[in-house]
Symmetry: C2
Subunit: 203 residues, 2 copies
Amino acid sequence: MSEQTARNARHQARMQRKKALIDQRIAEAQDEYGLLLVHSGNGKGKSSAAFGMLARTLGHGLRGAVVQFIKGAASTGEEAFFRQFPEQVRYHVMGEGFTWETQDRQRDMAKAAEAWAVARELLSDETLALVVLDELNIALKYGYLALDEVLADIQARPLHQHVVVTGRGAPAELIEAADTVTEMGLVKHAFKAGVKAQRGVEF
Amino acid sequence: MSEQTARNARHQARMQRKKALIDQRIAEAQDEYGLLLVHSGNGKGKSSAAFGMLARTLGHGLRGAVVQFIKGAASTGEEAFFRQFPEQVRYHVMGEGFTWETQDRQRDMAKAAEAWAVARELLSDETLALVVLDELNIALKYGYLALDEVLADIQARPLHQHVVVTGRGAPAELIEAADTVTEMGLVKHAFKAGVKAQRGVEF
């Protein structure tokens, strides 16, 4: 048996075992309900992954919503893009710019409370398959919102609604409550190496 | 001074320092060129973050492209969604299903070579601001494609084109060549706890 043939045979055996394992896991997974997902960590992709899920949701003909906390004033590419589908996407941007631009805690807290009132309404909308709470973790970290109220509203949502919370520094109670948590870890970042923020990548 | 007033003052001072630091970093970052980004790790969000970047790119009125390696047969929500914009998005899906469904190494390798021929052509298209090479790391890991050729084609791309490579197990040479690398770490996964794969989240 040549080396190539042997490699092919090993590959086939490995893939067969893998398929059997995965088929079994799929068969065992029975529950169907809306998930609470958290994207945290210092790396990139936390918000982008949530917007990718929104695209996926729209691709299934379902509706979604976004509340952007904190990053208020920045008119991002995502916003421009998803606002083109007002029938399918409810899009809310709160606040006025990054928190380190405003330097006014009282105003930030008032903006966060307004944003949460919108979020609460979305979290009770049965027609939404997905609600993205973008950078909510930052608002929680700064104490702009009460964590127990936020968690209660998220947990009271419609059974089949998925929720994605993004932002570094997710509080432990949120991680505890979540179904799926991904930590986006920074391995390497061009920005730190002196490269300008790039349109389409950073904003 | 009340505790609340003191907290507000501390907050303002902290935010001012943060703003000064960030403004300085932005001023220092001068280079402008297309980035090579890698989304790796065992957690979720690797592909979703790439598709979120694609949405962002379209929001800026720019064009993008996708080559999906490996996940051929699965008709995903992203695909359905982004195929609605044929003027702005070139979308290619290669192969026929997950590798553990096919169990035929020779066929997988032929499919990967075909896919790479498409990718190479996209990587020479000046009109594309972003090229997503989805699950390319898997094809590299299984040795379906030659890493040195892949890297050479990526490095020969137009100066302003961004490339995102996704998939677990990114090879060290790719990480070395990348500008930005994010490791999506699995903290918690509903699927493992017996929850079915959910439309809009998993596919």
